[in-house]
């Protein structure tokens, strides 16, 4: 089990493969948006993974990709609609990037891989783990960017930081910088763990 956790940490799609980086960069200007995006990705991963896993026996080898794309797109639409109805402020913060979840490699790759998984429960477990890591990383990146760039956190003003705001943090370069730092820290931790286990 420890082996599995370490691998997920090291092989986290966002950190290592930079899959899903587009919405990760766009949604991390505010912790609430990041959390909304993270939950949405988690739900899409879980739903699409389970659906594809259930349909596994009926999917021809040639139609795996179109089936996965359609499933992810459908799940994304469902989640967007739920978010728009019950979390309209988060929906507005995420904006167009919510729909991008339907086409990012992270979700589609995961759905396609679900065809080869052993069972629905295993797929669901993998979806939750991947989604949770994605969610946590997004929230961490957003928290760093929001505190340093806007002197606030989830709508709460941190007035004592007002004078030290770094404007670049709320822009694209700031997102890349923070993402790179978080990826480096995770890389370092996972390497250390691997060494210890060896």
């Amino acid at each position: 089990m420890a082996e599995k956790k370490t691998n997920i940490l090291r092989d986290n799609p966002l950190m290592i493969l930079l899959l899903g980086a587009c919405p990760a960069l766009a949604a991390t200007t505010d912790v609430r948006a990041a959390a909304g995006m993270g939950v949405m990705v988690l739900a899409v991963l879980l739903l699409s993974g389970v659906i594809v896993s259930l349909l596994r026996s009926r999917i021809a080898a040639e139609s795996v990709v179109p089936t996965c794309i359609l499933t992810v797109a459908g799940c994304t639409s469902v989640m967007q609609m739920i978010q728009e109805a019950f979390l309209p402020s988060v929906y507005n913060m995420i904006g167009i990037y919510g729909a991008i979840v339907a086409v990012i490699v992270l979700t589609n790759r995961f759905a396609c891989e679900a065809v080869d998984e052993q069972s629905v429960s295993e797929t669901a477990k993998a979806a939750v783990t991947t989604g949770l890591y994605f969610l946590v990383i997004l929230v961490v990146v957003a928290a760093i960017r929001q505190v340093l760039g806007s002197a606030s956190l989830a709508g709460l003003s941190l007035s004592f930081l007002e004078e030290y705001k770094i404007a670049a943090m709320v822009k694209a370069p700031g997102a890349y910088i923070v993402l790179a730092i978080v990826a480096a820290v995770i890389g370092k931790v996972s390497m250390k763990k691997e060494k210890e286990e060896k």
Partner: protein, 417 residues
């Protein structure tokens, strides 16, 4: 047959997924659609509902709008109108935005400041002071020290009322005499205003006076005075001149001698003499100046606070000391010397750039700038001469002072009052 089977299997899963999601999304749309619509409606009309809580719904009013009015909405049950406005002052980091409601009687029933990022804060009470006002905005003033922001705010609200009135949506409010008279002030005594913003302090009124105002730059006084049932505006300058106007802006000085006497007596009692300061300055500006004598009876009402004549190198000169409003609305001390033909012989300022610490990159060649005024007359004068790049307020003050000096000189030439 095998191919057909294979093709069916290829299509089965995608078609199944499409059908399932079509059903799910249709169901979700039926269930969540009304909630989503309600959310959208409350987002769009949220600020409008805040200023008109009893409103049922709003619809956009199609009308020609000035830049300051973002949108006008009609409340569908007839409660009135909700308006979104924007305003920008020189202290704006980004434009202010406000929403306010106007009831069917044409009075503001709610006011909310949506965006306010000014370097000077006029306080949360200021927008609320508009509630209850009609289109005349009679009882709304400007916030001391935040005059530009509050004036921009007030102008935007006035623009919104103008839109409603022009489109026959509400009836125009009736201005009171006091308001009509105060609106005359910029045209009858420019020393008490900067643009349309009053630059005066209120004084204790006496006798026929309803209100008394003293110019912040010491250039004179204004009084709202009552005689019988009518109200008048009397203005006095530092040269013993006084004019009286009725609510239509007509000069009725000749018909109201008692009011003139009363205003002049008050002005004489509370006025400030600038003769000593002016004499010392003109003697420094024009070395060899002698016989410096104060000029009385000038009937121009502007920023000139003192006027003198003197002789220098055998010629007669006129010196005008203006205290027009410069940076941060503070009066500057500007000295203009005209020769007998009305041409500028010298023009200088005690401190050309007030608060120079804010002009770090200031590279103005002051001697050359001042020399640029020389030789200009009222006929050849151009305000471009006074322009200092990056110092608009100072440029405007220098231009105003020069024009006021020309006006005072003309008054002397015409024999004054």
């Amino acid at each position: 047959m095998e191919n057909k089977k294979s093709g069916m299997k290829f299509l089965a899963a995608p078609i199944l997924v499409v059908l399932v999601f079509a059903v799910v999304l249709t169901g979700l749309n039926a269930g969540l659609g009304p909630i989503i619509e309600e959310n959208k409606s409350s987002q769009a009309f949220g600020p409008l509902m805040a200023v008109m809580p009893e409103a049922e719904n709003f619809e956009l009013v199609e009308a020609q709008l000035p830049d300051t009015v973002l949108a006008v909405y009609r409340e569908t049950s007839g409660l009135g109108y909700a308006i979104r406005c924007t305003a920008t002052s020189q202290y704006s980091e980004e434009p202010m935005e406000m929403t306010f409601g106007i009831d069917s009687e044409g009075r503001i029933c709610g006011m909310q400041l949506d965006v306010y990022k000014e370097s000077k804060d006029f306080g949360s009470d200021y927008p609320l002071s508009y509630v209850g006002q009609d289109s005349t905005l009679a009882d709304v003033g400007l916030t001391a020290g935040v005059t530009y922001s509050s004036a921009a705010f007030k102008d935007a609200v006035a623009d919104a009322f103008a839109v409603l009135i022009e489109n026959d949506l509400i009836a125009e409010g009736v201005k009171g005499d006091g308001q009509l008279l105060m609106e005359l002030l910029p045209t009858v005594h420019s020393g008490l205003v900067l643009g349309t913003v009053g630059q005066y302090e209120e004084m204790e009124p006496s006798g026929s006076m309803v209100s008394a105002m003293k110019a912040l730059n010491g250039s004179g006084f204004a009084y709202i005075m009552a005689e019988g049932d009518a109200s008048y505006l009397a203005v006095a300058n530092n040269f013993g001149a006084c004019s009286v106007y009725n609510t239509e802006g007509v000069d009725v000085t000749a018909d109201h001698a008692a009011l003139v006497d009363e205003a002049m007596a008050h002005a004489a009692e509370h006025g400030t003499s600038y003769f000593d300061a002016a004499k010392a300055r003109f003697e420094a500006v024009m070395p060899g100046a002698s016989d410096v004598t104060a000029v009385e009876g000038i009937d121009s009402f502007n920023t000139v606070v003192e006027a003198v004549t003197f002789r220098c190198n055998g010629s007669k000169y006129y010196g005008f000391y203006s205290r027009s409003y410069g940076y941060a609305n503070e009066p500057m001390d500007i000295y203009i010397v005209l020769d007998e033909n009305g041409a500028i012989a010298a023009e200088t300022a005690k401190e050309l750039i007030l608060h120079g610490e804010y002009f770090n990159a200031y590279t103005l060649d002051e001697p050359a700038y001042k020399a640029g005024f020389k030789g200009m007359t009222a006929d050849t004068w151009s305000a471009d001469t006074a322009v200092i790049s990056g110092a608009t307020m100072t440029s405007n003050a220098m231009a105003a002072a020069t024009e006021d000096a020309f006006a005072a000189f003309q008054s002397i030439q015409n024999g004054g009052n």
